[in-house]
Symmetry: D2
Amino acid sequence: MIVILKKGVTRKQVENVEQKLASLGFKTHPIVGDYKTVIGAIGDKRNINKNLILSMEGVEEIVPIMLPYKLAGKELYKEPTTIDIGDGITIGGGHLAVMAGPCAIEGEDEFISVAKKVKQSGAVILRGGAFKPRSSPYSFQGLELEGLEIMAAAKKETGLKLVTEVVDTRDVETVDRFVDIIQIGARNMQNFRLLKEVGHCKKPVLLKRGLSATITEWLMAAEYIMSEGNEKVILCERGIRTFETATRNTLDLSAVPAVRDTSHLPIVVDPSHGTGHAKFVASMAKAAVAAGCDGLIIEVHQDPPNAMSDGEQSLTPKQFGDLMESLKKIAGVVGKSL
Amino acid sequence: MIVILKKGVTRKQVENVEQKLASLGFKTHPIVGDYKTVIGAIGDKRNINKNLILSMEGVEEIVPIMLPYKLAGKELYKEPTTIDIGDGITIGGGHLAVMAGPCAIEGEDEFISVAKKVKQSGAVILRGGAFKPRSSPYSFQGLELEGLEIMAAAKKETGLKLVTEVVDTRDVETVDRFVDIIQIGARNMQNFRLLKEVGHCKKPVLLKRGLSATITEWLMAAEYIMSEGNEKVILCERGIRTFETATRNTLDLSAVPAVRDTSHLPIVVDPSHGTGHAKFVASMAKAAVAAGCDGLIIEVHQDPPNAMSDGEQSLTPKQFGDLMESLKKIAGVVGKSL
Amino acid sequence: MIVILKKGVTRKQVENVEQKLASLGFKTHPIVGDYKTVIGAIGDKRNINKNLILSMEGVEEIVPIMLPYKLAGKELYKEPTTIDIGDGITIGGGHLAVMAGPCAIEGEDEFISVAKKVKQSGAVILRGGAFKPRSSPYSFQGLELEGLEIMAAAKKETGLKLVTEVVDTRDVETVDRFVDIIQIGARNMQNFRLLKEVGHCKKPVLLKRGLSATITEWLMAAEYIMSEGNEKVILCERGIRTFETATRNTLDLSAVPAVRDTSHLPIVVDPSHGTGHAKFVASMAKAAVAAGCDGLIIEVHQDPPNAMSDGEQSLTPKQFGDLMESLKKIAGVVGKSL
Amino acid sequence: MIVILKKGVTRKQVENVEQKLASLGFKTHPIVGDYKTVIGAIGDKRNINKNLILSMEGVEEIVPIMLPYKLAGKELYKEPTTIDIGDGITIGGGHLAVMAGPCAIEGEDEFISVAKKVKQSGAVILRGGAFKPRSSPYSFQGLELEGLEIMAAAKKETGLKLVTEVVDTRDVETVDRFVDIIQIGARNMQNFRLLKEVGHCKKPVLLKRGLSATITEWLMAAEYIMSEGNEKVILCERGIRTFETATRNTLDLSAVPAVRDTSHLPIVVDPSHGTGHAKFVASMAKAAVAAGCDGLIIEVHQDPPNAMSDGEQSLTPKQFGDLMESLKKIAGVVGKSL
């Protein structure tokens, strides 16, 4: 790290900082300018308590020169990671994986019907919410275990892989049993206990970006899961909170190249939550593929006007099918198959 | 609610919307203008699935006329709520309650020493973190149960009330046993399962505002706790995320009058997390009291440069003591005692 | 508009509001519910002083039912507008128009050299800054009039159309004489005097979105120009300010479908300022085309490391050429030619 | 500055960077770690084109160690600046200066009447808008020259100093002739030509913070004015744009201590625009004084419900008078007189 000292720092203060750095295992290189003094501190001490230095007299600022994440970054794993979901389904690599299905699971017949249709259009993973984190306690909270059983039935019927969200450490084991990918929702991106718990699972984890999470914080959340042993993390951009109100969130597609630049993990995009309006989903799904994402997760509902959750952002199976046709062509242009 | 219809809506579409509204229990009042048609829908249907209307043909927008929260709002409870912590300590009403202590509990002797000092300066509640939600998995995660036991010892020694954060549904029962106020941290403000779990407790809950939570979402989080039976919620403003980087967060003091305007719940302010720098804490603590808050929660550490967490935003016991002197005077001006 | 009255409003207060509305030319329709009373006010009074109602006793809130912009919206002009730049170059309609060139004009030879190269790759409009709004007074401020003359020379040499920014009302006449499209930069999006001044020109105006402007405010800025008589406004999304720091701004591509949804004006995207890093430009340019934009504006510099402004976000002519090849294919998929 | 090199940088690349730095006048100090190499570059080169280094091969990032502003910072002027408005009125130092008056000047009688009342309550500077930057072209745009003449009449009558906004470079000379403090509005904070123009005036400038301006950008805007010769800049915090909608803007009171920490310029606060609602103004005005600001600017209107602009955030003269009583007491506590 680089320690920038205050103008007018005393010789004694510089020495104290150097000694403290040495005691923490750094080699120090002071650079004395006419105007300011800085100390270069060399050593792989990524997770040191910065405060130990920052609070010393004469210290103005600390500039880290290493990224705070190690497993999620490109230092150890230089090549993009491909995550195997089984039966030839992968996320990352040259294939574009599409996950689709309703926001919430409402009943078995409807769910299986949608599942068949999205499969027909080319989706390989079925999404559906059994445990729903809703902003009002009075809204439908999901079918819970019954929802998971319906998902299992749909899988049996269609062969689609399953992804669903888990919202409580106490449910991780159960969810892990039923699905192929465990989802951590945006509101739980920094629910560190939940991250650790899914870090003990063997199933891949779809980690949604928090509403106001920086890319660094998002990768640190991935690091939480990976440092517990589960390195199969799929990142999911789903929109961040800004001042704009024409869309429910602002879908940050530049996160796709920005994540690629610093991490080996695959990244998928959720244009449904990212925009909040069905009428904007197709444009943003196409844009996401053109930007180079590894997959999409799209809400599809048999009858959006009567959906129990998020109907305003759900496509009909027909709209989804049409969209998939365009996506195939754009995928081809950017060197991916769908 | 008000249903705004699209320009050029057909007579048949208007009728369909009216019928749907009637089937949901509303009385409808269509208003046909030269330019647009709107339907006034009257009835106390706060938690209806808006999508049922929003997705109908011809509907442009829905404008709710009732707030989404009921227990947290002023409809049922018009007077400001005062929460009794026991032994004459209250939050809300004419008294300004100050909570103080270190970010994380690091050891018994230091903790008790700080406790004695903050008590001497006028704090009535002791804060300390036993379960620490840290953005890096490699940072100190707290002493957990041992931390709670140290808190209990400090309470025995000083008589101060205790507040600490809970981060996992599985720990709620244990934390509830040890402390007087259960804290929900900013990152868990929409961890709905955790909210429900503390909603089953009898102890007051200190609910921190999420980093990107609107005041409405914050009150909906309070509603989650209250709707489970625990109406003793204390709101805590601790800074929101903006583009500004000179401060760790942007402390939104206007939330104090804005919450007062719409809710009966007491509100306290955390200038330590709100600014992230010890040098800004005193100014913002004074400002918070002048703005009319019901209390403060301030990080105080025996030796900030060597704190294991958040040292850069911690006051020394001496700085805290000096600050309390100023706060007493400002409290007097705004009609509160400290 | 809809006037929502406070709970407990008196009969007299309701009457006062109704009378005031009538005096302003509205027909009123009160709807009295058990819980709240609202008044529907009908009449095309888009630009009324809302405060006249909002400040009356008993009034809680006003909900407009008409958009605040008229010329920029779809009410009068239902079909997408195509703007003619001359010589067969259009913006809007089925063609994708690409504008390219260096951030700042630094010298004639380099500028003409870049101009030739971007033309060869398919750009039809040449960009270049003569008046540079720089955040530091000590940075290069542009060649001003000399820059405009260099632009004219490049146009003569290549036949490319010209776009450049104007930053002062006193320069509008001069800039208007030299270029084909007058640019209003993000920092001047609400410099209303400048908007009015270019509203008196006959040349099309490229209106960049402000760093923290909502889509509604952006369209109101367009309305300023249009209401002065110049209806040839081209909107340009160039990134908004958020908390994310991995990119210079957050390019809001969902603005493309969102603008389409409410306005007839064409919209182009600036992936250079939108990301701030050359390495992210190609991904976002492709995404913008897939999202359905009408054009792009891209910074291209002969020698980015030695650029006097914005070198870190500039492509080389070679990188630009390669990008254009991909863009042609994606344009084809979304039904546009390039 | 510190130049951080990419992992795996070659010896040749390091040498190239060193040579380039030397050619720019820096003394270089390379520090080679096991993991990364950094180069310390020493020399007072505040306004170098960073891109020259940033775009070189092997360079990852540049960390400046000097602030980008010099005149606005504390390097040259260590002591807080007090700005003399004449006749014993100062901004900065131990006195709290209050500016008050209506948003827009609507007519002479009303304006003089308000002026007398705010003077009686203790205001020393009269505010009023003659040139109004309104977000809609159809809203009242101000009385312009006639407004300035009314201001002059009010000054003659009451002896109050005057502050008004200028929005066009062409009006600076005129405004300068009439008023005692020239205001640059939030939307023009980066209208660099306007900044330069008022930099040529002798009158103090009240520089409002832009809606999405960082504190650094705000001080750079001050630097623009100061570098032209006018060092009498008064900063004005007036709320920033965030996702919160309960208030019109989020008043960032932590800007008060943050500006103090890095600049010698005085800072005043505008709780009227900062909140947008009259009901929140008193709380935030008191908080601003407690936070240590040097003054306030508050909208006061004879008849807020009939104001032509911003009535919803204006106090009545009576409310203003009551507020001033509280402010005097809080000013006393924080060591200021009012």
